[in-house]
């Protein structure tokens, strides 16, 4: 009979209408600023540079190898290698980025920089409230803006960060063992290896 389908449809919408008052699960809306969804651990948004310890300049893991700059599909990373070297977290003298810019208005959050980085220096952040009135400068992030501590990394991606720290620690242990085997351990190398360990402890 004509109208049966329409009546069935009306019943369905009525069910949803009343259901939305009684079953919270029916209302999918998350009222954003007040309510937030639980953070999904694998989520990614824009890259940041990881540093160990307390000082972002001292502990920056990036050694300006420029692999991510080359591999970045939309070419939003700009790196200028430093002229001099300075000791990294392990105390080994390394180059560091004199300039490290990411234009997040160009970045497409693909995570390829993270995948290709051999030093675990660049990771994906989850912060998405980044609107700014200045669409030029405000979205062109320099290395200070990009630097986030390892603790932050542990906070947003705990499983991944723990794995990274474990791998780094193992590698350093191997290096240290090699160094010990080669010659007597120098006295000044010891304190710097402890930096990631403390970071891990805090996380």
């Amino acid at each position: 009979m004509l109208g049966k389908g329409i009546v069935l449809g009306l019943a369905e919408t009525a069910r949803n209408f009343f259901g939305s008052f009684f079953y919270r699960a029916r209302l999918t809306t998350v009222q954003f600023p007040e309510e937030r969804l639980p953070q999904i651990e694998a989520a990614r948004n824009f890259p940041f540079l990881v540093f160990d310890g307390a000082d972002w300049q001292q502990g920056m893991r990036c050694v300006a190898c420029q692999i991510c700059e080359k591999e970045c599909p939309p070419k939003c990373i700009l790196i200028e290698k430093s002229k001099d070297k300075k000791p990294d977290a392990t105390g080994k003298p390394q180059f560091y980025p004199a300039v490290f810019n990411i234009d997040v208005s160009v970045c497409m959050s693909c995570q390829i920089c993270v995948e290709v980085c051999p030093f675990d220096a660049i990771k994906m952040d989850v912060d998405f409230e980044l609107s700014t009135y200045d669409r030029f400068g405000g979205l062109l992030w320099d290395k200070q803006r990009l630097s986030k501590s390892n603790e932050h990394y542990h906070q947003i991606h705990p499983t991944e960060a723990a794995a990274v720290d474990a791998a780094l620690a193992a590698e350093r242990e191997k290096l240290a063992a090699k160094a010990r085997a080669a010659n007597a351990p120098p006295a000044n190398a010891a304190p710097s290896t402890s930096a990631p360990a403390t970071a891990e402890g805090q996380a």
Binding site: I77, L78, G137
Partner: protein, 192 residues
């Protein structure tokens, strides 16, 4: 390699069939050494339509479905070279394929004409228009040969390998290095 249910066509057999069915046609096998082993048939432009009709209508082949049509630009160092149109054919009826057909133009400048296969396979219509638009191959016999993606009056064919992007955009300060350089240059010019 993932298991393949539909086997590639036996190009030798197809060539033999073509030689018998379309007298005077020149068909050359272009071998493909890659694991997928999708060898292709280079056919002459003159007999292309007859060949295409045979491939579509032959009871054993029935390549009734032209999946993909695309162009390739092969410039030479000396300024010569040619443009190529590639057709990937399948059969919806027999469920086999692909058979790869290639057509080449004589050069890249003036003799860029190829016969259109859109009357044989309608699915080539928009794709040939795209090739005309982006590569500049003139398809004779195409029902509606206009630019597809670029606008009317656009100069040049962007997918050619020697295409130079016109430097007429508004640049913004960005970390994108080449863009940044251009932007700075533009800014300097503007200040001057």
């Amino acid at each position: 390699m993932s298991p393949e249910r539909s086997a590639n066509m036996d190009v030798e057999m197809v060539r033999a069939a073509l030689a018998a069915a379309v007298p005077g046609c020149q068909v050359e096998i272009i071998a493909n050494s890659r694991p997928a082993a999708q060898h292709s048939l280079l056919v002459d432009a003159e007999h292309a339509v007859a060949i295409a009709e045979f491939l579509r209508d032959d009871a054993a082949l029935r390549l009734d479905y032209c999946s993909n049509v695309t162009g390739i630009d092969w410039p030479m160092k000396d300024g010569g070279g040619y443009l190529e149109a590639v057709y990937h054919l399948y059969s919806m009826e027999k469920k086999h394929g692909p058979l790869v057909l290639r057509l080449r133009t004589l050069d890249r400048v003036a003799a860029v004409h190829l016969p259109s296969l859109a009357p044989v396979w309608r699915s080539a219509e928009l794709q040939e228009r795209e090739i005309f638009d982006l590569f500049g191959i003139q398809f004779d016999g195409h029902p509606d040969l206009r630019r597809l993606l670029m606008w009317e009056g656009f100069a040049g064919h962007p997918m050619r390998r020697d295409y130079v992007e016109p430097d007429d955009y508004e640049y913004e300060p960005t970390a994108h290095e080449t863009v940044l350089q251009k932007a700075q240059q533009h800014q300097r010019e503007a200040e001057r």
